[in-house]
């Protein structure tokens, strides 16, 4: 009887461990996000992908519709090619455009899909060419400084 009690207690202990594991995996980690829903692959070409990473979300109107699967560089055009898996339930017109956006001021970057007006939808394997690159802070600051210098130069030249 004593060994039976011990076995019950140890079984409870192991069960508690599994409960903790499921809680951590499903409620406190991303296992719940892995959907078995079928997806289709599309890609988009960007001049600059900024800090986008694989597994970043793809959103349309703020709703997550897919995930970035891979990011590579096209060796001919020197553009960044972002491959994405979009859930089958969401179809986008052929002339949709893609942007790289940032969640909040300091948040992670994600791909924003903006639907176009075409009748036909993006097929699996299609490439979006209408894109807007990520904002690179250094470029923005450089442009601002350049504009300021140009302004100063024009006003300085008109004065005398």
């Amino acid at each position: 009887m004593k060994t039976r009690n011990t076995e019950i207690l140890v079984g409870t202990f192991v069960l508690l461990g599994f409960v903790a594991l499921f809680f951590l995996a499903l409620k406190a980690a991303n296992l719940g996000n892995f959907s078995t829903e079928p997806t289709y692959a599309i890609s988009a070409r960007f001049d600059n992908i900024g800090g986008l990473k694989a597994r970043a979300p793809v959103r349309s109107a703020g709703v997550t519709v897919g995930r970035v699967t891979a990011i590579t560089l096209d060796p001919k055009t020197y553009q960044g090619v972002v491959s994405m898996d979009i859930r089958n339930g969401f179809q986008f017109p052929k002339d949709s455009s893609a942007k790289i956006l940032t969640a909040g001021l300091l948040g992670d970057q994600y791909v924003g899909l903006e639907p176009g007006a075409a009748e036909a939808n993006l097929a699996a394997g299609a490439t979006i060419t209408q894109t807007q690159s990520a904002l690179v802070l250094e470029n923005l600051i450089g442009q601002m400084l350049f504009n300021m210098a140009a302004d100063a130069g024009s006003t300085g030249g008109a004065k005398p």
Partner: protein, 260 residues
């Protein structure tokens, strides 16, 4: 001068000898472990002694750590308006580091010492010698089941520690302070990876369980068969196991999380 050099040489040889001794002891434990699996009842009894009895202290510590982490992180994050990330930070801290490490330190103190004292007293009472006379290898009958039980119990305890800690953080952050519950969970789900964070944490805690149990068994088995000897061995178990866990944690963290 020559005396000093001889002293150094003797010391080095001693260290090497004890390291080699420990290595052979480790190999013996591994060799006897499959046989212990066949007598599963022994392992179950040890999981009860090592795991079940550590449950209360592990759960209480996890809850306390979760409470305090949530409170501290809230004070730090609220100035940046990022209080919703609290759950994420608590989760990553617990699952990656604090869960395995603090559980291992508590485990060394709670279960390691009792293992060392138990086996040390068995040796002092010549029970181990009596077993050998009966042609039963005490390493197979006494040590190997405890070794396996330690390796099994430790990840379970660490998981419970992390889970209870996150629930504690939830109580403080959401129920007491009023952080939004939806954001608390969703940011966590968005940013914590099951394999990378949780999986590596489990691997870590299994390695720590191996270190703690091995050190405890070795110290108990090699103790001098006197009351002082057992006392010294128990102390050494806590010191060596804790330092081993902390050192190994750095190595494992560097290996697991080096690539972003």
């Amino acid at each position: 001068m020559t005396a000093a050099i001889a002293h150094l040489g003797r010391f080095t040889l001693q260290v090497l000898r004890s390291l080699g001794h420990a290595a052979f002891f480790f190999i013996d434990l591994l060799r006897f472990s499959p046989a212990a699996l066949r007598r599963f009842g022994l392992v179950v009894a040890q999981v009860h002694a090592i795991g079940n009895r550590s449950l209360i202290i592990i759960a209480a510590s996890g809850l306390a750590v979760g409470f305090v982490l949530a409170l501290q992180m809230y004070y730090a994050l609220v100035t940046y308006g990022a209080a919703e990330s609290l759950g994420l930070i608590v989760n990553l801290a617990l699952v990656r580091e604090l869960g395995p490490v603090v559980t291992a330190l508590l485990f060394a103190g709670r279960a390691g010492t009792s293992l060392t004292a138990e086996i040390g007293l068995m040796k002092a009472g010549e029970q181990l010698a009596a077993m050998e006379l009966m042609a039963i290898d005490p390493r197979a009958r006494v040590l190997a089941p405890r070794f396996l039980a330690g390796i099994v119990s430790m990840p379970i305890l660490a998981l419970i520690f992390s889970a209870v800690g996150i629930l504690g953080a939830y109580v403080v952050a959401v129920l007491l302070i009023g952080v939004d519950a939806g954001n608390f969970w969703s940011i966590m789900q968005d940013r914590v990876d099951v394999w990378r964070d949780l999986g590596n944490g489990i691997v870590k805690s299994a390695v720590f369980g191996l270190i703690c149990t091995f050190v405890a068994l070795y110290q108990g088995y090699e103790t001098q068969a006197t009351p002082e000897g057992v006392a010294h061995a128990t102390t050494r178990t806590v010191v060596i196991a804790s330092l081993g866990v902390l050192g190994m944690d750095f190595i494992l963290t560097a290996l697991m999380f080096s690539t972003p």
